[in-house]
Symmetry: C2
Subunit: 384 residues, 2 copies
């Protein structure tokens, strides 16, 4: 194949189809840029733009105020001692797992942990022990499960796991486990706890110290209205020197961050959105109210909301026998729902799903949520 | 500290001072967005925008044409079998080092390797052996140095190093070593070679197969006119299954990539700029001619260009005794050069440097290069 003009034509500028749709994909809701971030994006989009101001350490840049953001605002926001901006929540998790362990150590994960927690542990060459949940329909993770898993690891390996992780909330059901109890349970065995807040940091109030977590990770593109990939990593003082250990040859560079992370539009959009993000977490009660209202409406049509009930998060998983039944007999088969929603400018339920799917109501607002509710209602009636 | 309105005011949208300056920072030249990328940025800026189109594997997305980009265009462009888009050149290097080794293995680096090569090796917990260069003024790395280093490692550890790395060009002097000979030297000992092309991929023609490299990494934000952080990783078929090994629990997810990498504006700006980037590498002879012309002009004023002579790359390192001498006696001291250049809207030589500094002429063009040359001339005359 030659890289000739005809071949190259397929690249270049490409439009984004669902840009102006009502997007209820949980991945997308918290990452929609604020107006400030959209302006920052244009201003800071070039390559490595932030490096113009750097004398060797990203988080020491005074102007733009990256230092104050990383060492002032974020520790306060996350309730933790030390923070760094990373290339994403998964990269934050790997940095903790890798620095806090040696190959072959055990890590305890909630069974419904995000796949990236499993993959990060595999990359760090750790053994994984999982904490089961209550299964269908609540999928509840109990703090005692952590004690059981830790004791199993001690029995098998002769020592406690190097780390435990709780997904808060998990990315499937939007369940919020009792993080405080999980933390105290882990601490009884001297096991530090990492809280995966990819769906909480930037959406709802969360404070690592109040919950007792030793590490907290968040996602800029998932929940902090930032252009990805970008995340945050909060570490308690006790472990900061381990996780942020510096290079023996390049003594200002932190090894686990490979010396530097977000140094362009990603961090600048995170900073641009930050005031709005802080304020929106204070509106969390209304977000939960919207989620519950929406869930009630869908349940009124025969769908069943799985996971915590009443629900405490915008991310919700539905079982939809009524839609599945339709998919069995209509021409478009299992794609009918995707297509009928698309025709109403609603995006975010994966094409082909009807029996089970997840969605998010975060920041959609009652007006647009009503559009979505009406769409489900119309679609179900249409095929009656 | 409270996250109140007054404190939050310092964040939000922030302007980028040197946005419209002539920027001769080597970090910045190759990362300036094309018009297409600037449009893509706005279109794809939201969080995780690309995920709307994903059914589980980023590089399998057909529309936008990420599959064709990653599996068609990039392998051809890099001259390699398998390619992935990563979060940057350093992340690419770590992925190779980590997957190709076990803790305690040796890696051979050219002594003038970028700091991130050292830090990536340290993160992978490897022993580093360096290949010295000829020192001042040419800093030339000879292929035989790799043989010597490899033999030392064999003597000490009983086996060859797991990997060798060549920085092509290095980021200080812009030297292009004889990569082909380095590759054949390494291969005589069955040592695979990684080429760090952060300053070549996207700037100049480079083909891993022609040079004999087993791995090649490039930087989107440094040299491919993409919004960072984003990079590429090319791997020869022989090692693809090792580097891109999949998770035992989540079988489409590649462990070293933590399952997924650039899934927003970063990859879409890379794709947007790609046609222009391919074409600009075909203009490389003119870029080298511009660099040599510029170097000759500065040498005419008493500066000395260090490194390869004649120079073969836009990245150049200068020793400037004439400027250092001025800094010793003027009021603004060592900041005079930065300030005097800034007054002429020229940015990119670090504030405080006068005796030694590096810069890049890539894509500046003769007209603006002449502005820079005239600026140096005026500044030197001003303080005579």
């Amino acid at each position: 194949m030659a890289l000739d003009d005809i071949f190259l034509q397929k690249f270049g500028y490409i439009e984004r189809g669902p840009l102006n749709a009502i997007n209820i994909d949980p991945l997308q809701r918290g990452g929609i840029l604020t107006d400030e971030a959209r302006r920052a994006l244009v201003q800071w989009g070039d390559g490595y733009s932030v490096c113009d101001f750097c004398s060797g350490v990203l988080d020491k840049i005074k102007k733009p105020p990256i230092h104050d953001f990383v060492h002032g605002a974020l520790p306060e926001f996350l309730g933790t001692d030390e923070v760094r901006v990373t290339n994403g929540a998964r990269e934050s998790k790997f940095a903790v797992m890798h620095s806090m362990t040696v190959e072959g150590d055990f890590v305890v994960l909630d069974q419904i942990a995000h796949y990236t927690s499993y993959v990060a542990a595999q990359r760090a060459r750790l053994n994984i022990r999982t904490v089961p949940n209550s299964g269908n329909p609540y999928y509840k993770t109990e703090p005692e499960g952590y004690a059981t898993a830790i004791e199993e690891v001690i029995r098998e390996s002769g020592k406690p796991p190097a780390l435990a992780l709780l997904t808060y909330p998990d990315g499937n059901y939007g369940n919020l486990a009792d993080a405080k109890k999980v933390a105290s349970t882990c601490h009884e065995y001297d096991v530090p706890l990492l809280l995966n807040g990819a769906y909480s940091v930037g959406r709802m109030p969360i404070n690592a110290k109040e919950l007792g977590a030793d590490f907290i990770v968040g996602s800029g593109h998932k929940s902090m209205a930032a252009s990805g990939p970008v995340g945050v990593l909060g570490v308690t003082e006790e472990y900061a020197d381990i996780v942020f250990k510096k290079s023996p040859t390049h003594n200002v560079k932190e090894i686990e961050l490979l010396g530097c992370t977000a140094r362009g539009a990603t961090i600048m959009t995170m900073i641009a959105s930050f005031p709005t993000v802080v304020k929106r977490t204070r509106n969390w009660d209304n977000e939960v109210a919207d989620a519950r209202w929406f869930s009630e409406k869908l349940e009124g049509m025969g769908l069943i909301q799985i996971g915590d009930r009443p629900h405490n998060h915008d991310l919700m998983f539905f079982e939809a026998p009524v839609l599945f039944e339709i998919s069995q007999r209509v021409k478009k088969g299992r794609y009918f729902l995707y297509k009928d929603l698309k025709a109403r400018n609603i995006h975010g339920i994966k094409a082909g799903l009807t029996k089970f799917f997840k969605l998010s109501t975060f920041g959609v607002g009652r007006d647009d949520l009503k559009v979505v509710v009406d769409a489900f209602d119309e679609i179900i009636r249409k095929y009656e």
